[in-house]
Symmetry: C2
Amino acid sequence: MKIKPSYPNYMDIKTYLNEKKQQVENGLEEFMFKAEGPLTEHIKALRYSLFAGGKRVRPILCIAAAETVDQHTDYNTIMPIAVALECIHTYSLIHDDLPAMDDDKLRRGKPTNHMVFGEAEAILAGDGLLTFAFELLTRHNTNQIDPTDRLRIIEIIAKAVGSLGMVGGQALDLASEGIDIDFEQLRLIHSCKTGALITASVQAGAIAGKATPEQFEAMTSYGQLIGLAFQIVDDLLNVEGTKEELGKAVGSDAERQKSTYPAFFGLEKTRTMARETVNLAVTALEDFNNQADSLRELALYIYNRTN
Amino acid sequence: MKIKPSYPNYMDIKTYLNEKKQQVENGLEEFMFKAEGPLTEHIKALRYSLFAGGKRVRPILCIAAAETVDQHTDYNTIMPIAVALECIHTYSLIHDDLPAMDDDKLRRGKPTNHMVFGEAEAILAGDGLLTFAFELLTRHNTNQIDPTDRLRIIEIIAKAVGSLGMVGGQALDLASEGIDIDFEQLRLIHSCKTGALITASVQAGAIAGKATPEQFEAMTSYGQLIGLAFQIVDDLLNVEGTKEELGKAVGSDAERQKSTYPAFFGLEKTRTMARETVNLAVTALEDFNNQADSLRELALYIYNRTN
């Protein structure tokens, strides 16, 4: 049951996503180390997961947010930030997949990093990607974004993915496997584990585009709501999706007795909640003109996605 | 065979180290999350390794470097940077100790992080500490250090501990176990794995103290040389030290067929190399007045240490 966009649809979301995805891929290729020299094996491990065909949702959200507040956003200004976000996302997947964590053997239809490079190298590949993200956030384009704003972007991202954010969310998630948790705890896990980085991606783009405080607030609400929607849909796909669509095992949440939205509310109500959350996200952008259409479309895309 | 300081010894190094160590401990306590709320277990894992009694060499080097170029260095300015360096060092120890890596069960006389909290939590504790370091580097004392200099500090540290630095060094080190490597490769592993963060600690302090380009260059040489000395002495201690002094297994390098300085040059020549390296480090500071005595003493301390 897809949501059809109801506002002036100035673009086709698939074309938009493909175009932005290609830009992000180019950015990844431009900034990431080449697999050469004494560290070839290590860099191969980084690149393996980074170029394993992700949807690039976080960097695209960052670029779209920047372009919403500043339509003349420069590619060179925003791309290091966008790439940094994808590096952080990829690191989190590599570590989450480890045998000691979720023990996943398949990711995006391919063997997970540790299945190819071994556990030690997978841990180091994750560490390397996380660290590289912070390097990227400092070293480029000093002249385009005010240094104080760049520090603010780094701070927001570091907080979002640290112990009180994404890392903490994964810790809570692991600790909650097989035990009963209440809905409040589930919400906390979701907002830390998935929501925080998605929100930070939007916020980083907004700051790079020189958002006003009001625009930044609206973007933050939007980011939080699509972050929530993203995780609800993830829970749905884990029940309803196919292994072919997802490129990873399905039904694994139930198998691990993980608390999920469908486990709490059933499929139908969960679907309604996802739709309502996306609608709220679109509403959060009501003060923006049609420059925010890409973000509106992205919200619907998050609801409609099948992987 | 200890080196006796030959220049005017304005302070007792043990008193100095104790005083600075206490300041760093206070800083760690001030900045690190308290173990409370839903993330108590995760934060306990972070704190366990952070407060396991390290020597705090890297933060002390950072503070000493800052005070060498600016004797009025403010505690509030330098401490977040010093604490960040210790967080990064601690993260690297937690990950290096993991079963998939060096599989060490003892560190500083205590069970390693994963022995107490399990592998998954140890991986996340490391991730959390690394990320927190970058948060710390952004969020404090905007008014004391120029934002551009703060970005430069973050960049230097991120590069030093990333895939072409500390993380890459650990990858090379693991890959070289049990195989013959030449001396050039050993030097590369050492300079990446240990030297880079030590050098960055000195550089970060120098920038925080507003070093001139010439002072920064001298500090960089000093940092590289004591980083090298530190690793040579580590190799020596792994052969000559006792388990009681080191708080970890001895002879483990030989057992793992690791290439080390003593394996290449024998004990006596290795000792001479360590001493000469420390002397060169002291020489690198010759243009500084006695404000650099703390750094000079620290170089000797690195040579003389027994753990």
